[in-house]
């Protein structure tokens, strides 16, 4: 059964039962982070009870467009991938790498202990969950493990949430990354809503998930519940706003000199929004600073973007000085060279880069155009 590992405990909870899950996680001393409405968007932050989740809200997303829209229902998970990804909780925007002190020419360097609060991710979507597994391949590399990421990642309790209402920019079904979480969670929730019913099918995916679920007042899931969940999955998978077929034609064969690269470069502002919102983009820069007297120094790691001209700076000029080459680097990295580096695609189909691009550049449309041999790509200048 798609998305359901029926070996684990599968239970049906009420809204109160779901709130009990949050309470138990908080009682474990965890900061529970989940989707909340703030400043006109759904974002993530710490919350205390499920009443703070975006009840009755969904997102209208499209190229360069995001609006909160009421569903007219009391659905808790009636939206798709929120504006922000979860990477910042494991890989913060700024991380202190070292602190140093210089005294009479002698330098002492201290590597700070990673700051790793106990957290739970509540309501993480399938695409974003797959994205965490992709970031793991970068930062948990056996030969170079990032201490902050490793410390935070090892203990995070994951309550995933299946999508019932994919957005217009979603294409996880075609990337085989959703809409129902398949693995990597402690608990996975599917909201069963409609016909006067409001319940949550909860599946345990780990031992500690099973243990937690066993403490919550619930009833055993019936075959009918599972059938409903399966039908919801099918409906969600069929209602993706976009699609990208990663196999046909093989993306590795994309022409680096295709005229479409010039075309997209004319539209792209090289603002880097797409890389900031992407749940898998990991690039960063290190920045050093000192106090005024030059006795104390710090080095911070900060998120960086391949869209900046300095990113590829070398003495004598940047390797990628044109927007064309930078957009190409980003897209080919996501969809082609990521496979060579990490045996997986760098794109999970969350659609955020489409939504948050100020000019609405849509990678699925770019790929379609780029996959068309250049002689026949006669639609110059017109974004499809």
């Amino acid at each position: 059964m798609e998305g359901l590992n029926t070996v684990g405990l599968v239970e049906v909870l009420t809204l109160d039962g779901l709130d009990d899950v949050v309470r138990v996680l908080r009682d474990q001393g965890r900061k529970v982070i989940g989707p909340i409405v703030r400043d006109g968007v759904i974002t993530h932050d710490e919350f205390d009870s499920v009443s703070e989740l975006p009840h009755g809200w969904t997102e209208d997303q499209d190229g360069g467009r995001y609006r909160l829209v009421p569903t007219g229902t009391d659905e808790v998970f009636g939206f798709s991938s929120p504006s922000t990804s979860w990477k910042r909780y494991l890989y913060p925007e700024r991380t202190l790498l070292i602190r140093a002190r210089r005294d009479n020419g002698t330098v002492e360097v201290v590597q700070p202990q990673p700051d790793a609060p106990a957290v739970a991710f509540f309501g993480i979507r399938s695409c974003d969950l797959v994205a965490l597994g992709i970031l793991d391949r970068v930062f948990l590399d056996r030969e170079a493990t990032d201490p902050t990421y490793a410390a935070r990642r090892s203990d995070v309790f994951i309550v995933a949430a299946a999508c019932n209402r994919p957005g217009k920019t979603c294409f996880c079904a075609s990337m085989d990354t959703g809409p129902t979480p398949r693995s990597g969670f402690d608990l996975s929730v599917r909201e069963l809503h409609g016909d006067g019913r409001h319940e949550f099918l909860v599946e345990a995916g780990s031992e500690r998930g099973t243990e937690l679920l066993a403490t919550i007042a619930s009833r055993r899931a019936t075959t009918a519940d599972l059938d409903t969940a399966q039908a919801l999955h099918g409906r969600a998978a069929a209602s993706m706003g976009r699609r990208m077929d990663p196999q046909d034609p093989p993306l590795a064969a994309l022409d680096p000199d295709h005229p479409r690269w010039d075309d997209v470069a004319n539209r792209c502002l090289a603002c880097g929004n797409c890389t900031m919102v992407c749940p898998t983009c990991f690039c960063n820069a290190t920045e050093d600073s000192t106090n005024l007297t030059g006795t104390e120094a710090e080095r911070w790691r900060v998120w960086d973007s391949c869209f900046s001209i300095d990113f590829s700076h070398l003495h004598g000029g940047s390797v990628r000085s044109t927007v064309k080459s930078r957009y190409r680097q980003w897209l080919l990295h996501k969809l082609v060279t990521w496979h060579d580096q990490f045996d997986v695609s760098g794109c999970v189909g969350c659609g955020r880069c489409i939504t948050w691009c100020p000019v609405g550049i849509d990678l699925t449309a770019e790929i379609t155009a780029l996959a068309t041999p250049q002689q026949s790509a006669g639609r110059k200048g017109v974004p499809s």
Partner: protein, 268 residues
């Protein structure tokens, strides 16, 4: 990502903008580097720069640094007794084992002589393990020629052929004038039985690799040391990418056939 502190125990001014520092560990030392690898050198409070190993003697790191910006200016300003942070060694090295029993052709342009210097040291240390040895050096002008004294010494030896050329000569220059690829054409090697190591500006390396292969050296026996922007040196920051390669860990030394198609695309 935490540097270990080293002390500058010797400093030599090579050129107006280039110095060579000898570094000794203050405390714990970094793992032993392989030739061709690089270290991240840290100037306190300023930043880090990837700098190739120009030598490793008695546990001392030798680095040749050209001043081009904030970090290299600060590093190059260090004098004896100053402390510099070191992270490393990183990256792939020059694989001399593949050259055993073969002729060795080393082609260096400009500052590229620094990273290949340990190859020459190794050749002399185990001279009988290799066939003929040829070092071709190119510089912009005679005044920009690195390691002049050492080149003079090497030139005096019978077990290595050293040729130097400059792009533009001064009146006192008696050597060759022209690009280093011209020297490749007449290098005394048995091409099929040669392994080549190339380091210099990227354009020079591309031309050199092509002419070495044109001479008949198997493409897979041509090694290049590439330069890219680097912040982390451990595959986490993304800055050094060239197509699928992270130059900090899949390089800097790469076989020519692997990067040839990538370097052919402008701004890749």
């Amino acid at each position: 990502m935490t540097p270990r502190m080293y002390e500058v125990v010797a400093r030599r001014d090579d050129l107006p903008d280039t110095v060579t520092l000898t570094l000794a560990p203050v405390d714990e030392q970094c793992p032993t580097p392989a030739i061709g690898q690089f270290n991240m050198l840290w100037a306190f409070g300023i930043g880090e720069a990837p700098i190739s190993l120009a030598g490793f003697e008695n546990g001392h790191l030798i680095h040749t640094i050209r001043r081009v910006g904030a970090v290299t200016n600060s590093l190059a300003a260090s004098t004896t007794g100053d402390q510099i942070g070191v992270r490393g060694p990183y990256g792939t090295g020059w694989d001399l084992t593949r050259a055993a029993g073969r002729d060795v052709l080393v082609v260096a342009g400009g500052l590229g002589l620094a990273p290949v210097r340990p190859i020459i040291t190794e050749l002399f240390a185990n001279r009988s393990s290799y066939g003929r040895a040829v070092l071709l050096v190119g510089a912009r002008t005679p005044d920009a020629l690195l390691y002049r004294d050492e080149l003079e010494q090497w030139r005096g030896r019978l077990d290595i052929e050293v040729e130097v050329t400059v792009d533009s000569a001064t009146p006192s220059w008696r050597g060759d004038v022209g690009v280093v690829t011209r020297l490749v054409e007449r290098a005394p090697i048995d091409p099929e039985n040669t392994t080549a190591f190339v380091c210099g500006p990227e354009v020079m390396m591309r031309f050199a690799a092509v002419s070495v292969v044109d001479r008949g050296v198997p493409a897979a026996e041509v090694m290049l040391s590439l330069e890219r922007n680097m912040h982390c040196a451990i595959g986490h920051c993304g800055h050094c990418q060239l197509g699928p390669e992270f130059i900090c860990k899949d390089g800097p030394v790469v076989p020519w056939p692997r990067v040839k198609p990538l370097l052919r695309v402008a701004e890749r």
